[in-house]
Symmetry: C2
Subunit: 456 residues, 2 copies
Amino acid sequence: MTDTTKYLESNKDRFLQELIDLLKIPSVSTDASFKGDILKAADFLKKKLEEAGADKVEVCETGGYPIVYGEKIIDENLPTVLVYGHYDVQPADPLELWDSPPFEPVVKDGTVIARGSADDKGQVYMHVKAFEAMMQTDSLACNIKFMIEGEEEVGSDSLGPFLEANKEKLKADVVLVSDTAMLSNDTPSLTMGLRGLSYMEVEVTGPNRDLHSGIYGGAVANPINVLCKMIASLTDDNNRITIPGFYDNVNDLTPEERIGLNSAPFDEKEYTEDLGINEVHGEKGFTTLERGSIRPTLDVNGIWGGYTQPGAKTVLPSKAYAKISMRLVPNQTSKEITDKFTRHFNNIAPDYVKVKVIPHHGGEPAVTPIDSVAYRAAEMAMEEAFGKKPIPMRGGGSIPIVSLFEKTLGLKTILMGFGLDSNKIHSPNENYGLFNYYKGIETIPLFYKHFAELSK
Amino acid sequence: MTDTTKYLESNKDRFLQELIDLLKIPSVSTDASFKGDILKAADFLKKKLEEAGADKVEVCETGGYPIVYGEKIIDENLPTVLVYGHYDVQPADPLELWDSPPFEPVVKDGTVIARGSADDKGQVYMHVKAFEAMMQTDSLACNIKFMIEGEEEVGSDSLGPFLEANKEKLKADVVLVSDTAMLSNDTPSLTMGLRGLSYMEVEVTGPNRDLHSGIYGGAVANPINVLCKMIASLTDDNNRITIPGFYDNVNDLTPEERIGLNSAPFDEKEYTEDLGINEVHGEKGFTTLERGSIRPTLDVNGIWGGYTQPGAKTVLPSKAYAKISMRLVPNQTSKEITDKFTRHFNNIAPDYVKVKVIPHHGGEPAVTPIDSVAYRAAEMAMEEAFGKKPIPMRGGGSIPIVSLFEKTLGLKTILMGFGLDSNKIHSPNENYGLFNYYKGIETIPLFYKHFAELSK
């Protein structure tokens, strides 16, 4: 047992209690009414980084929500690791589907249940506690810099300018992030690829006011019916996206790569049972593992229009709205796809309605080389902690900042996440396993050890 | 000038003020939180009927909201007219689109603006004041019975049982209703046909919980995308409804009937400009007048699912919902169409989702003979008041009670409405013209006069 593991063992309860305190802060970034809590979460992390022994800790102002910075430079000649994470969380709604209030953490069946427990407070806080453990046991093997933002769930708008303005201060050899999931607790994995994102809001306007569907129905186009037809036309019978040029830049995997990807343990029966669906559904010619990672998608994330209250109202509404997002794979860019979507959606709009497309945030897809020193250090750390070599995998989600770090700081990112797909992130009853929390705190110091050694 | 008209002239302001007092009561029947106001509106009418000189006035309890009854039997040998109307109103939302609060009536540009001003409070109250005028001038020419309900906007569920239980009490020669519109103030018209209604709520369920669209997107069916495809498939490229057997019982008009119907004054340019649309849109092969009156329709009245708040949330939702209604024409029945819709919607549901169809209220289409004594009395009354013979027309809306009166009481209904399509009923800024309000009060006594004479 390493010194840091011993330290972890004797501080487990406090480490958990501190995470619970952080989870109690409803730092929802997409809704301005939570601004005060966002700042409270930032101050909480500042305080904890200072207590753990970080220097130059500050809550850095940005154009949006602040970024918490802190560092420990022990030796200019040692490699430097830039730890990134985010303290903001997704909205908690629909509230009624939570078994316990989203911001009153409950520890149950070996997990802590709360919004943000896995995405990303639980995972970023592992790094704060691992840092404390290394400091207390005098075993920190690299220089370390923390950068924890509060706008990840809304597109990290302030991060780019912050990186541009602080290139010197953020100088490092690699970025380390825990904001992804492993295949399972028995099958550790490292994410080497991510999908990007292009997210829009569309508005379809029919008549200039809500109308009586009896008097006007049948004679005037109904914007909801029209929006449904437009959305329906965006995917074909094989579930391929019909936007012209959508697949132009998708780089297809080699047969070998596909075999490797599909070798990951996956039980479709378990999968469908867990989700309560009769069968999976996706792009023809690809497996569920592929559909969720290496293929682009188009999902309606929200739709609304007309009368949505209890009872019946015979209205022919003036407007209908939808939020539509597309997941992107390497070589596609969010700008390219946003442009293609916007052009196409306007092209297919019939003359009897007006259409508006408002782009929300986007993110770029990314792949990290598995032959790099940093990747191997992460691999060795996980193998040592889990007793098994982690499987390199492609993630379905987006961490836009990965490509941002590459572009702005010229740094590769290691996605050493300890979550599970069953963590219900972005959903009611989000949870994070205590096993995963503690295992992460145990693994992280090993990464620093191996990264320092391999960098010699 | 008749005595009743003189009486009207000298009481105009009070008649308007009383209507405004009635419009101030937010008697929204679809939302239980307004129950108190519903009862308040019923009591208001009871009081006014008594003041006007009605006998046996009572607020009759039902399984739902009460029905206000009152009568004046002057001579068993004279014909009896049963006046029907409703004191409940549609919900006022979307509130933000009203120029003035929906339940704080404003008189502007010769109209009174408030929810319910035209549908139906303003029109039913004309009958109360016309009754008062006839009583005060001792010119009531027929026996009269009032029956004013509070559930018309939610399907008149209690009316059927009430009619069944009170056949004797409601004995009459004809039903007189003002709850429809005229072609224009210069072109009076009488509605001789109405569309029926079949209204459902549908629910599509995908996964058993909201999912992260990054992790599951592309691999699991999204219920919103699926609902859009299902709704889109309900109408074809010619805007015909694809539900099997949907048109089986539609009785098509003769070429002569179609020519008559299309002879009504209609300016498409004015129509599209008023609605702010570039072009009309409907079933191929029919005119706008036909699409809005003699053809069945399918409209989505509301749709919702996923994240609908400001900002972006990358969720793959568990459920999506829609409210869908169909307007029916003579020979179709709401039960027939509700069954056909339900069967079809379940049939087209893919295996990877679950579908639920919940029928809301329905209403039957109806046609009234224009050669009946009552119709001719209404025609003569309008011609005398407007100086022009009214055009017989088919209305697009539904007044389910018309077929109910025929079935239960064996009575024909005269639809002598004084509204206009521009009244924005069921929409923000609903309004009713003062000209129409006073012209109605002037016309109604003439109906009684002619009906009594023609019935001799």
